[in-house]
Structures are given as structure tokens and as C-alpha cells.
Amino acid sequence: MTEPQQTPAEALEAIRQSRATVREAVRDQKGAARFALIYSSIAAVMVGGQVFSAPFNVFCSAGGAVAFGLLARSWSQRTGVWISGVTPKKARWVAFGLGAVMLALMLIAVWAGRSGHLWAGLPLAAAGFGSAWGGSALWMKVFLAETRDQ
């Protein structure tokens, strides 16, 4: 196999262009809004469902986890890349932060359910939806900036 030599500047430019193709694949303009809608809806069900007693709360959290897995698999098959969300150094903190917010909302929902405040499930689900939507948008922004700056 012929392997032409390239100058350091040319090599760095080739790296930059290759990374740009990854960003284009990840950005996936066509499916981004649909992905965010489904992702946020799953998060809303997982959070809001915690106000109910077992087995409904378990069904919501376990079913949500399975749905997240199927969504991630579908996304990776469409884009051709798999990103766990915690690989890029800066973007991983957005993922951890979003996970912490979701966990906190779920715990509040559990407390609300046990206190008899079932009505709280709806606003908490809405908060979960909004947090997931905003968090995923922020993660994408940080990921794109991080991979562009490297």
C-alpha cells in the first residue's frame, strides 16, 4: 500500500477535517429534534412515575432504562457512531450533572408519592422533561465545541 508522506501542517489539517465528519454525524440535524423529544419524554416518565407505589414506579424506571437503551442503539445505527456521553472530558460533566438532576427529581418524586402528593408527579415530570431537553442540548453544544477545539 502506497503511503504518501504529509507535512505536520497537512496532517493536522487532515485530523481537523476527519473530526469535522464526526461532528456532522453526531449533529444529525434531521433526527436531533425527534431524538430530544423521545429522550425527554422517557426522562419525564421515569421522574413522574416515581410518585406511584410499586410496581408502577419500578415499571417506569426499568421501562425507561430499557427505552433509553433502545433509543441509544437506534441513534448509533443511524449515525454510525457510539458515544456513551462520558468520553469527552468536558462533556462528561454535563452528563454527570444531568444524571444528578434526574436522580434528585426522582427522589423528590418518591418522597412526594409517599407523602400522598400524587399531583406532584405532573410538575416533576415536566421538570424532568425540561431538564433532559436542556441537558441534552447543552451536552451537544459542549461536545461539538470540545471536539472542534482539540
Partner: protein, 96 residues
């Protein structure tokens, strides 16, 4: 910051592009990488084999929807070698 080290295995144009793509993701599908760097299946396979032999890339196969897909992943050693190589290129180019 990793010490700059020139790596001749990574530096070849096709392999450099493969490593650049894989460095930003956990895994990338063979077809996606092939299309991104505009090479044939056989050329990409040869590059991947060389990276695999160097311990820089891991190859796995998964069947989904009745179709087998090949996934490529940069190993820990591969990520370290790529970072060191990029650092050396940056140094040689007089950037940073």
C-alpha cells in the same frame, strides 16, 4: 499534557484519519469511517489491520436487524499514542 512522540504507524494518511475519527467517539461503524475518509473497504481493512496489530484499535462485530455491522474502537494505548502523535505534529508545525 502527553509528551510529544512521533508514531509512524499512526502517521500514514489513512490511519491518521481513522484515529482522528475514533478519538472523538467510543466506537464508530466501519462503513461510517470508510465513507468519512473516502476509501474502499479493502483499503480501510488494511489500515485497520495495521492499527489492530499495533494494539491501537479493537474490532468487534454485532448483528442487528439481521445485518452484521463491524465496529472500531480506539484502545487505551491507541488513544495515548494518538494524543502523543498530535502533540508532536503540533510541535513540528510550530503551533501552540
Amino acid at each position: 499534557m502527553r509528551a510529544p512522540v512521533f508514531d509512524p504507524v499512526i502517521h500514514a494518511p489513512g490511519r491518521l484519519q481513522i484515529c482522528a475519527i475514533l478519538s472523538d467517539v467510543d466506537q464508530a461503524e466501519f462503513a461510517m469511517v470508510r465513507d468519512a475518509i473516502s476509501v474502499s473497504d479493502s483499503v480501510l481493512s488494511k489500515h485497520v489491520k495495521q492499527l489492530e496489530d499495533a494494539g491501537y484499535v479493537a474490532v468487534s462485530k454485532a448483528t442487528t436487524g439481521g445485518r452484521q455491522r463491524t465496529w472500531l474502537k480506539l484502545s487505551v494505548a491507541g488513544r495515548a499514542a494518538f494524543r502523543a502523535h498530535v502533540a508532536e505534529l503540533t510541535r513540528l508545525a510550530g503551533i501552540g
